[in-house]
């Protein structure tokens, strides 16, 4: 068949549509517990396993998002995003103008870099009123994870992890690299079951300030971010 002008218009229309759809790429985070999505209700999340873990709060900062292709950085943004497991509207991050770009790896920070930590008051997701800033000692809290487990011999069996710290040797910032199979939507799953069954909750259950333990737990958390 010889292409007619009509066909060409259709082709052009098709191309534009693809462009428009892909112009705004998305990066989504899915907090999970094992295979289940972690959906925090007022009473928190109750695991279906026998471990009786509940999770009442899970928030973390994502920053410094970069896309890489075969060892070369092809895209980056400088924004800071607070992901809150109790607010699904925070799960999706729009990545602008990535439609012409090929990439096979994503790199981002779990937490807030040290420069931002010492630069004074900031707005948006970095506003201290978001509850992710330590008051008695300056610094962002990169991650808050709170819940209960019968293993914790604490008040109400609670565990509270407020992970942060930007000074060496207690710099808790983690850089996460994930290979991507296709250049479609980027979906990152965070399996808290892997994390919480990998630590001894009877010993480690209260981390509220910068410390070596907080750095170690941040590192462990960074390992349960995955592409499924």
């Amino acid at each position: 068949m010889i292409p007619t002008r009509k066909h060409l218009y259709l082709l052009l229309f098709g191309l534009i549509c693809t462009g428009l759809v892909q112009a705004q790429g998305t990066l989504s985070f899915h907090p999970c517990y094992g295979k289940d999505f972690l959906q925090l209700t007022d009473s928190g999340y109750q695991s279906k396993d026998k471990d009786s873990i509940t999770i009442s709060l899970f928030r973390f900062y994502v920053s410094g998002i970069e896309l890489w292709n075969d060892g070369k950085r092809v895209w980056e943004e400088k924004n800071y995003h607070l992901i809150n497991a109790s607010d699904t509207s925070t799960f999706k991050i729009s990545l602008s103008n990535i439609y012409t770009i090929n990439y096979n790896k994503i790199i981002f920070n779990l937490g807030i870099d040290s420069t931002t930590n010492v630069s004074g008051a900031m707005g948006g997701d970095l506003d201290p009123m978001k509850g992710m800033y330590w008051a008695w000692q300056s610094g962002y809290i990169n991650v808050k994870l709170e819940g209960t487990s019968p293993l914790c011999k604490t008040r109400n069996n609670g565990f509270e992890f407020h992970l942060g710290g930007y000074h060496t040797p207690v710099n808790a910032l983690q850089t996460i690299e994930l290979p991507l199979k296709s250049s479609d939507k980027i979906e990152v799953f965070i399996d808290l079951k892997q994390l919480l069954t990998n630590i001894d909750l009877s010993k480690t259950n209260q981390l509220m300030s910068p410390s070596k333990e907080a750095v170690e737990l941040s590192r462990k958390l960074s390992k349960v971010f995955e592409i499924r």
Binding site: G120, A121, G123, L126
Partner: protein
């Protein structure tokens, strides 16, 4: 007319050995170094300064609306809390430390006795949330300000819209604090050759330069560092100082070297306010220094002062008093806005 005024101000600045910082009239002596605070990130305007001043004096920052910044930082005492060794806050609770005097804050690289706060903007968060000071959260303060009859208007004037955020709140309080510049003491006049010391003050200044000025460095009378100055540990407080922040035993009992300007007004002295009089402070340095392993290197050599020399030294310290600062109306309670 306007041009003439501007020209006169410029000539005035040149002649009087003072310089201006930024676009706002923050006038400081010519020989002062560049501020640490980055004014480009938070340029001073009179509207934001006013908003910060109102916030500074408003107990709305505390949980039960009883404690304001000025509760522990009153202008007549160079913005500290006099008569109380340890400052008290909400429900008459006593804190662990003596509130520091506030002045020349744009030249601090950190804040608090132990340096726990890394930026002036973040300073206010500490007392707001401390359970024995204001026992509030910044989120709740913002809610209260939104419902207040005065603040939406003040934020509108300062920021062009009435949206109230934590960032705007903190930056406004910074703006007011940044204007608290003390540089009109007799010492400053002497430096500018507009006055001269008495013989006693002059002798005191020599003693000061010999014994004190390595830590209490001019022109701010601090080296902006933390030192262990050999104070006996108060066993009821068990305050380990900067080690709390760094977890490093090298910082055991280290506290910020305080600024000495307006020291006459800002008694009692030391991080826990243990000394009511300057004489006791000098007695500590001549006779009371505990030889800790990490004692400040600058105190390793014993300081010897006769009682007459101590009197002279104190006479010099009194030349650091800045009455213009203590009575400056721009820093006082904004009674036309807060009632």
């Amino acid at each position: 007319m306007k041009k003439t005024v501007v020209l006169l101000i410029i000539i005035g600045l040149v002649v009087s050995a003072y310089k201006k910082i930024g676009s706002y009239e923050l006038i400081v002596p010519n020989n002062w170094p560049k501020p640490v605070y980055d004014f480009n990130r938070n340029p001073l305007t009179s509207e934001k300064i006013l908003l910060g001043r109102v916030l500074f004096y408003d107990p709305i920052l505390s949980k039960d609306n009883t404690i304001s910044c000025s509760s522990c930082h009153s202008q007549f005492s160079a913005f500290t809390h006099i008569d109380h060794p340890l400052s008290h806050g909400i429900d008459n609770q006593i804190g662990k430390r003596n509130s520091p005097a506030l002045m020349n804050l744009a030249w601090n690289s950190s804040f608090m006795w132990d340096g726990a706060v890394n930026h002036l903007d973040m300073q206010a968060l500490a007392p707001i949330s401390n359970t024995v000071e204001m026992n509030e959260t910044i989120g709740h303060v913002v809610e209260k300000l939104q419902q207040s009859p005065i603040y939406p208007q003040l934020f509108y004037k300062a920021f062009g819209d009435s949206i109230i955020t934590g960032e705007r709140l903190l930056k406004s309080i910074s703006q007011f604090m940044l204007t608290l510049v003390s540089c009109h003491s007799k010492y400053d006049s002497v430096q500018q050759k507009k006055a001269s010391f008495t013989t006693q003050e002059k002798n005191g200044y020599q003693l000061f330069k010999k014994n004190c000025s390595s830590c209490h460095k001019e022109p701010f009378f601090t080296n902006d560092q933390f030192e262990n100055n050999g104070l006996q540990v108060d066993t009821s407080l068990k305050d380990i100082g900067r080690m709390m922040v760094t977890q490093d035993s090298a910082n055991y009992l280290q506290f910020r070297v305080p600024k000495l300007r307006n020291i006459q007004y800002s008694y009692p002295y030391m991080h826990d306010g243990r000394f009511a009089k300057l004489k006791q402070v000098l007695d500590h340095y001549t006779n009371g220094v505990v030889r800790y392993k990490n004692l400040s290197k600058l105190l390793l050599k014993t300081i010897n002062l006769t009682s007459n020399e101590k009197v002279d030294l104190i006479a010099f310290l009194y030349t650091l008093s800045d009455t213009a600062f203590i009575f400056d109306k721009r820093y006082s309670y904004p009674r036309d806005i807060l009632h």
